[in-house]
């Protein structure tokens, strides 16, 4: 069962902020975030393990809410280079034991000048 990402697509102007959500109907143990530019391979952004932590990477940060079974990716003061499709990958309900990462369908982010 795939995690559900929202929104499916978002268009921003340079400098604006965006939030991408990733939710599951089952308990989450870990969440990965990746970005994929058109025609390229997905590239790792960050991992959040169970514990409700928040992580940051330049102006991109993420949170993990176990109770809501949801993770959110925050893009602050977006740059043209942020354009791409963002994927969350999750491992559900087995405490991290089965090492199988299931990805959502992706969120297409377009940043315009």
């Amino acid at each position: 069962q795939q995690p559900v990402q929202s929104p499916q697509a978002v268009i921003l102007r340079e400098g604006e902020d965006a939030v991408i959500n990733c939710s599951s109907s089952k308990a989450l143990y870990s969440v990965h975030w990746y970005r994929q530019k058109h025609g390229e391979a997905p590239v790792f952004l960050m991992i959040l393990l169970k514990g409700g932590e928040q992580k940051g990477h330049d102006k991109i940060s993420a949170s993990f809410n176990e109770k809501k079974q949801q993770s959110s990716l925050y893009l602050t003061a977006s740059q043209l280079s942020y354009s791409g499709t963002y994927f969350c990958g999750t491992e559900m309900n087995s405490g991290g034991s089965n090492y199988k990462l299931t990805f959502g369908k992706g969120t297409l982010l377009t940043v315009n000048p």
Binding site: S30, H32, A41, P42, I47, G89, G96, F103
Partner: protein, 116 residues
Amino acid sequence: DAGITQSPRYKITETGRQVTLMCHQTWSHSYMFWYRQDLGHGLRLIYYSAAADITDKGEVPDGYVVSRSKTENFPLTLESATRSQTSVYFCASSESSPTATNSPLHFGNGTRLTVT
């Protein structure tokens, strides 16, 4: 050069033919994965492997076969290709379990397969 490489980058084959997609990594990562990417579906896991000679099915394994006789190689074989297997295939590796540690997936550049 160190990294994860896939070959070929592009492949056109006919329905019913057998085709093998290659994946090679030089990091000695234990974990390796095959995903397919299709519009509207995102990345779907086909097969994965925790070590040499250990493989397991993912979400969409039907019609595919994998082997892992050596840590560094993880080939994916389509036994009898069908048009529905037209897709972009990504191989990935991880140093340790990506779900239990802070170990990310490193993706290859992908193979674009067209089945006519």
